[in-house]
């Protein structure tokens, strides 16, 4: 007979694992990926593959040769980073090599330099994205125009994102909210279709990988705040519905702000976190130099996360 195992209680586990969580997040990102491929064609697929492959490769190399620890690429977290990074860049041929640099920054600086999964203070994909945005402003803002279903040509016409249009051409040129919802607009790969993102988010909610607090607080705050501005001056400010559908708010609120590692753990902290993200996004959009502020808003709130973890304690049972 085998030796008896000994351990303290409990002797049973929910069978939940980091690996399962990460693969489920990957699965939740698939609808948005499919929409991106449908709208931007093969380029979208190529950028995604390159980004994911680069992230996985860099993680493996760093773990093997620099940190000299057992590899953890199988847990799927590098793939999540790769996909999110790809979703945050325009689907153009130029991006194929730029995204590799982004992957190096995201994995190397954003994640592994802090000690790997679970220890990074900032969302690695956003670190990579912001680095690229600052280093390659032209390529990062050359948006391909949506070319119908499966445009196989590699030369895609370029155009502006809805928010870019707003900043440069004014309110009149804005696409309709319905187009924004379906994603029939220019923009980063993953952020164009709110619908696809919501499908993924609902899956994550059902699987209890994310809770409603951050997305609702984030989108709600952005909606209310932009609504107030719109009521004050509808000529200058975008209406609230378009505000939350255009740009990266949906992607950011559902997939990036909810990143377990970099968001607060207590529910109250998550509400404050989401509120801060929403507020900062609208502030940056309307008064900042960039047309889009989701990345910066989330990264800034990432800084606040440790403080929120300290302040927002779960309510104790026994007082």
């Amino acid at each position: 007979m085998n030796l008896l195992n000994i351990s303290g209680s409990p002797h049973v586990h929910s069978d939940e694992s980091t690996k399962k969580i990460m693969w489920r997040v990957n699965l939740a990102l698939v609808p948005a990926l499919l929409v991106a491929i449908a709208y931007f064609g093969l380029n979208a697929l190529l950028v995604s593959i390159v980004s994911v492959a680069a992230c996985v490769l860099f993680q493996w190399l760093i773990e093997k040769f620099i940190l000299k620890v057992p590899s953890t690429v199988c847990d799927g977290s590098a793939i999540v980073t790769g996909l999110l990074l790809a979703f945050n860049v325009p689907a153009t041929v130029d991006m194929l090599w730029i995204v590799v640099i982004g992957a190096l920054v995201a994995i190397g600086i954003g994640k592994m330099s802090f000690g790997g999964l679970g220890k990074n203070p900032f969302n690695p994909a956003l670190v990579g994205r912001v680095f690229l945005l600052i280093s390659f402003p032209v390529q990062m803002t050359t948006w391909p125009q949506v070319g119908g279903l499966f445009p196989m040509s590699l030369d895609v016409t370029t155009g502006a994102t809805p928010l870019g249009i707003l900043k440069e051409e004014g309110m009149a040129a804005m696409p309709q909210a319905w187009d924004l919802f379906l994603g029939h607009v220019g923009g980063s790969m993953g952020e164009v279709s709110a619908l696809a993102i919501l499908i993924g988010a609902i899956y994550l909610l059902c699987r209890k990988i994310i809770s409603w607090h951050i997305p609702v607080a984030f989108i709600g705050t952005a909606f209310v705040f932009s609504g107030i501005l719109w009521l004050i001056n509808p000529e200058q400010f975008l209406d609230p519905l378009s505000s939350i559908l255009a740009g990266g708010i949906m992607l950011g609120a559902c997939f990036m702000a909810t990143d377990m590692v970099t968001s607060p753990m207590a529910k109250s902290g998550q509400l404050i976190f989401g509120f801060g993200c929403g507020l900062l996004t609208i502030v940056i959009r309307n008064w900042g130099a960039y047309p889009e502020g989701v990345s910066f808003a989330i990264l800034i709130m990432n800084c606040v996360t440790p403080l929120l973890n300290r302040w927002c304690k779960p309510r104790r049972f026994a007082c």
Binding site: I6, S9, H11, T72, M265, A266, F317, A318
Partner: protein, 442 residues
């Protein structure tokens, strides 16, 4: 449906021995009766080598406050009085008895008649609980006579009987409800009288509809017994959570249930109380579930205390299956893994649970991803991930400030952790360190 206010998990119930009626386990050739089968100091053996003892005879006397009497579960000759290794391998004072026949004390009423009337006064009831060596059978084995002696200045308002049986696998309480509902209700009435409270509440998880129905029917004939169906959620049967579910009250940090006007006892205790008060039978038997997915058959037994694990296994299933990975005394969430199968059972044992090799191993630990699942699952509203860090870095003072001592060690944090961190182990270690620090300060 009533439940406690925060946290909790829902492990697979696995109540596979639900339908196995309670059988009587035959008495072995030799019994080893440990002297500390309860919380507190060991009882003092009052028999010597060569003494003849009868079933139910006092062999270990409670000589300190926090202690309980121990009685002989068999008749025969005392072989020796020396330490015996318990289920975890630690030597404990014990009395070895060679079994000869089955001669019971004359005072014990062995007739099958159910005796309803109890004429004893509350104080007499408590004195008899002490005499009969009754302890809490929910796992903590707290001496019953201490629990039912309400300290000066405090009043009991609620008597709550824990029949939630929220632990996976365990079915002994369920079987007792199904087969001895009336005796249990009499026992509850006696406890209610001892406390002088108007109502007693029996909390049963709603995954036992038959037991709820049976108890409700039986309780109609009794005054002041209310059946409370509870939501199926672990740890519904934890003392503080049960009080919260039934009364809505909360037991404060470092406080006892009586501070909130509640007294909680296990259903098994109520049955033992009936036998002790009405039938003069001391606590010499356990109701044990023998279960496990790997086992060919599932059983519920009445076992004399002092029967070894090996004897129970031999009688019920012959031998442990080849694939056995772990033997647990208790349920999978809070039970204790057994090392020494030659050890005798003690008061408060509720099961012999056999876990297969595959399920017995913990998965390797990975990095914490700060998902906060542990904090969400914690029924006490604590932050297990934080304790893990503090304990690892020996920041004991801070762990205390974050109320590590509130932890009830229910295991919800480890159960829900996707990184497989042994959070419950770490918190237990932290609690020990905090207690050591507090003792050193004194």
């Amino acid at each position: 449906m009533k439940t406690f206010r925060m946290g909790g998990v829902h492990p697979e119930e696995n109540k596979i021995s639900n339908d196995a009626a309670i059988e009587v386990m035959p008495v072995g050739k030799q019994m080893v009766v440990l002297m500390n089968q309860h919380l507190g100091a060991p009882a003092t053996p009052i028999v010597q080598k060569g003494d003849k003892v009868k079933v139910g005879q006092l062999i270990g006397e409670a000589q300190t406050f926090m202690c309980a009497n121990v009685h002989s579960p068999v008749s025969g000759t005392v072989l020796k009085v020396e330490p015996c290794k318990d289920a975890f391998g630690l030597a404990k004072p014990a009395v070895y008895i060679n079994v000869e026949g089955d001669e019971w004390m004359e005072t014990i009423d062995r007739t099958p008649d159910i005796k309803r009337e109890c004429t004893l006064e509350p104080k007499e009831i408590v004195a008899k609980l002490k005499e009969m060596g009754i302890v809490g059978l929910g796992g903590a084995t707290f001496p019953a006579h201490i629990k039912y002696s309400i300290p000066e200045g405090k009043t009991a308002e609620y008597l709550i009987i824990n029949a939630a049986e929220c632990e996976p696998y365990l079915t002994s309480d369920y079987r007792v409800m199904m087969e001895h509902a009336e005796e249990v209700c009499i026992g509850v009435s006696i406890l209610r009288k001892a406390l002088g409270v108007p109502n007693a509440y029996i909390g049963i998880e709603s995954n036992k509809p038959l037991a709820i129905k049976k108890m409700q029917e039986t309780a109609k004939e009794f005054e002041g017994i209310i059946i409370e169906p509870l939501k199926v959620k672990y740890p519904q049967g934890a003392e503080k959570q049960l009080i919260n579910a039934v009364t809505g009250r909360r037991v404060g940090s470092g406080k006892l249930p009586i501070d909130s006007g509640c007294v909680v006892s296990n259903l098994g205790t109520a049955f033992a109380v009936y036998e002790a008060i009405q039938k003069n039978k001391p606590l010499i038997e356990n109701i044990l579930t023998v279960t496990g997915k790997e086992l060919p058959s599932q059983h519920n037994y009445i076992v004399r205390i002092g029967t070894t694990y090996n004897e129970i296994i031999a009688h019920s299933i012959g031998q442990l299956p080849e694939t056995t990975g772990k033997v647990i005394s208790g349920g999978t969430m809070m039970g204790k893994a057994v090392v020494n199968l030659d050890a005798p059972t003690v008061k408060g044992n509720s099961s012999v649970l056999v876990i297969g090799e595959k399920e017995a191993h913990r998965n390797p630990e990975t990095a914490c991803i700060r998902c906060g699942k542990c904090a969400n699952a914690c029924p006490m509203g604590l932050e297990p991930y934080l304790f893990s860090l503090l304990v690892k870095n020996n920041r004991v003072e801070e762990a205390k400030e974050h109320n590590i001592l509130d932890c009830i060690e229910c295991g919800c944090c480890f159960f829900s952790c996707p990184a497989n961190k042994p959070l419950t182990d770490e918190i237990r270690l932290g609690k020990n360190k905090v207690r050591a620090m507090m003792a050193a300060k004194k």
